[in-house]
Symmetry: C2
Subunit: 130 residues, 2 copies
DNA sequence: ATAACAAACGTTATATTATAACATTATATG
DNA sequence: CATATAATGTTATAATATAACGTTTGTTAT
């Protein structure tokens, strides 16, 4: 059994904020939220974000340049990520669907090439906004 | 039969450059490439890019903030896009795979929600880099 | 043709996102 | 302890993208 990751001070601060948030957070909005805690510079945020992504604790929503906490213990350290994104309220949900994940993880293109990672973003309207 | 889109001057200039390129192009690298043609400001590039995306002539590779020409007459004006991205040489290929596209277009999540658009990015090593 | 409207353009300024570089401090390992 | 590695703090700057405003060009209807 792998030991639970121990996070550094800044990593924990950033993760806490992202986990508490209801939606995706942008790096600079995280920064403004933690200035009272002694973090003053973008670098400190981006470094924490990078490590948290590496650990699979958070994901980057590429189409929004924003970050969400991972809600899936099985997403294999961000090798297989899928999200639903509401185009109206900007809500993001991590899609946890074993069939989808297996289908895409085993996908090979016409030349037979397999890929070691994928990221899928679905866009539409969430239940609230429909 | 829909009439072929007629592009404006700036749109045509930007599209030509993206179509000629071997890989994805960034907005500012497009800008530097067209300054001899009288385009001087980022706005002019971004406006052309926006329209070209709307028309389905190009796509944005979200994980790279870069743009590629559409190689697929059937990608339904960017409602269903998939790419393979080489992590070594940065090459990008549009994946044209009817089965994959149908599978994802008809995907519905656990609450039964369907989405009207998706973008999928695969990462790995291209044939050259393997 | 011309009035009215919409789309594209040109330009200046500014906002937002992200990284470089370097010195310092904390943590782990033998 | 000695050394190496990871994390931090800080200043500066690069890269990406949009706001705002006025002008020009192209389309459509009378
Ligand atoms: Zn996850
Ligand atoms: Zn919504
Ligand atoms: Zn396409
Ligand atoms: Zn390659």
């Amino acid at each position: 059994m792998a030991q639970a990751q121990i996070l550094s001070k800044n990593q924990q601060i950033v993760l806490d904020i992202i986990e508490k948030a209801k939606g995706p957070l942008k790096a600079y909005s995280i920064l403004f939220n933690v200035q009272k805690k002694g973090i003053n510079a973008p670098q400190q945020i981006y470094r924490a974000l990078d490590k948290l992504i590496e650990m699979g604790k958070i994901h980057k929503i590429e189409s929004k340049n924003a970050f969400v906490a991972c809600r899936n213990s099985n997403c294999e350290i961000s090798k297989a990520t899928a999200f639903s994104i509401c185009e109206s309220c900007e809500m993001v949900d991590e899609i946890i669907d074993v069939k989808l994940s297996k289908y895409l993880s085993s996908f090979s293109d016409k030349k037979g090439t397999k890929y070691k990672r994928f990221n899928l973003e679905f866009f539409g309207l969430c239940k609230k906004c429909k």
